[in-house]
Symmetry: C2
Subunit: 313 residues, 2 copies
């Protein structure tokens, strides 16, 4: 039995997770990320202990704790090398956590944990599994032979920062033309606004007015009601997603690619054309194709995955 903790900028979510990846009990507390890191770590440990006790166990029943944290993580050392969201730099998170709750602790990047969580429930024991999350940014993780692939320096699997348009839109990472700058919800909103500026007659205006803002849903909602300008935005956005997935497939040929993040709730409306494009343009015409599926866990992926990483052999 493991504890999985998903340390986010807004909430600390934690769960007591069985060896098979089932959440037995879960809870969350606010991160309040502006306060001293030590207080955040103390709350993480207290939340874990609360779950253990509420479920009728003691710490000695727990095999380990996994923590998923945004930013650059030194997995071997259990150290947060740099995190912008939680304001940590070379912070020995595993060591600090154990001062409050002395159990084996592993720390990994939050997207790696989410990938591992999705793999547990959605991975069918695939030898190669790619998780892509389309949200404010584009993140992801790669699970090879049931283990997170971290690259030689622990920083691998940043599919959002493969180039999609060399020299294109500026990305938050400092490079131009990253996949994230085209396939994130942030990019979709930018492109929706640009299209609205050019199409004053578009339904997108009234939909955005009803919502009170332009969101990632605006163009989709208008396109489904037959709006041409919106359809063009959606088609181009789907093409950007698909073109990045082809890149990943032509490089790694994952058996399963799971698409998560808010936008994936559009389901087959996005995935059918993505599958069609990837099937048609993928480099290999003569071998079995990888499956492209929607993610299943959403918010629980981080908890389940962090616990699985604590359990990694």
């Amino acid at each position: 039995m493991y504890i999985g903790i998903d340390l986010g900028g807004t909430n600390i979510a934690a769960g007591l997770v069985s060896d098979k990846g089932e959440i037995i009990l879960k809870d969350s507390v606010p991160t309040n990320s502006e306060r001293p890191t030590g207080e955040i770590v103390k709350d993480m440990a207290e939340l874990a202990l609360k779950l253990i006790k509420e479920a009728g166990y003691t710490p000695s029943d727990i095999d380990g704790v996994g923590i998923g944290c945004p930013g650059t993580i030194d997995f071997e050392k259990g150290e947060v090398v740099y995190s912008n969201n939680i304001r940590m730099e070379h912070y020995p998170l595993a060591v600090e956590f154990r001062k409050h709750l002395d159990l084996p602790v592993r720390v990994d990047n939050d997207a790696n944990c989410a990938a591992m969580g999705e793999y547990i429930v959605n991975g069918d024991n695939a030898g190669s599994f790619l998780f892509i999350t389309l949200g404010t940014g584009v993140g992801g993780g790669l699970v090879l032979n049931g283990k997170v692939y971290r690259g030689f320096n622990g920083a691998a699997a940043e599919p959002g920062h493969i180039t999609l348009v060399s020299g294109g839109e500026p990305c938050t990472c400092g490079k131009c033309g990253c996949w994230e700058s085209y396939a994130s919800v942030t990019a979709l909103i930018r492109d929706t606004k640009r299209a609205m500026d050019k199409a004053p007659e578009s339904l997108m205006h009234s939909i955005a007015a009803e919502e009170g803002k332009v969101s990632g849903k605006t163009a989709f909602a208008a396109a489904k009601r037959g709006d041409k300008a919106a359809k063009a935005v959606v088609d181009q956005y789907i093409r950007y997603i698909a073109d990045g997935i082809v890149s990943c497939e032509n490089f790694i040929q994952p058996e399963i690619t799971a698409i998560g993040g808010g936008i994936s709730r559009e389901g087959d409306y996005i995935l059918d054309p993505v599958r069609e494009y990837v099937g048609k343009t993928g480099f290999n015409k003569f071998m079995p194709k990888g499956r492209i599926v929607t993610a299943k866990l959403f918010n629980d992926a981080g908890i389940v995955g962090a616990a699985a990483i604590a359990n990694e052999k």
Copy 2:
């Protein structure tokens, strides 16, 4: 001791290779790829036998044969699923070869073999090693933990067909905007010609006239002599190379990336600006950077790698 065979469109190159990857003896014969495949396979086996005998051995001294072949290979079956260059479709190459020389035979994609060959001499036992070849196309191979990474369907590691400019230049693969359509020598020649059309005063014209054609060297030669239009072509070409390498690094973080193919003979003239761009724009600013090196083996990589794949555990 192994036999490595590099089956190319022009020549069949073969070598007797030690367990450590040293070529003991090598030779080649023309492929004459238009003739019946059975004759080509017979010549491959006869070439192998000739090498074995000339080195004073018998087939029983040989632990196995590795064959690198262009196209789509079913590694498990030893079958060429499809090869355009050698005109094979669902051809049981391993079985057919053994009719002439009955030794354990493995067949793999030629770029995978070249990657493995480079890894043997240039890989420093790196846990992750990416080989990129910039030639008529852009090919490559990925070696993880000392083994070729083939993906779930055997078709992985086609870095030339990751997208570099979504919706950009048409690629021979049918998709638009592949890295190959920008970083191959074919693309460089196209861009050199386009620049020459716009710059009648450029040195590129006289250099091409001397050479009798526009080649991958034209722009480099003119740029080194201070020609501005040529310098712009070279700078953009190097940027395309670098942008693709950043994509590979941000996804896989290989410990070593080795660049081969004719153009890599430009050495640090290309690689220094590539390293600078990758170092500056790679996603991870806080962890060790992978090394980018030039390939060492050139034409022998296929032979050494095919032998190593025969020796793969």
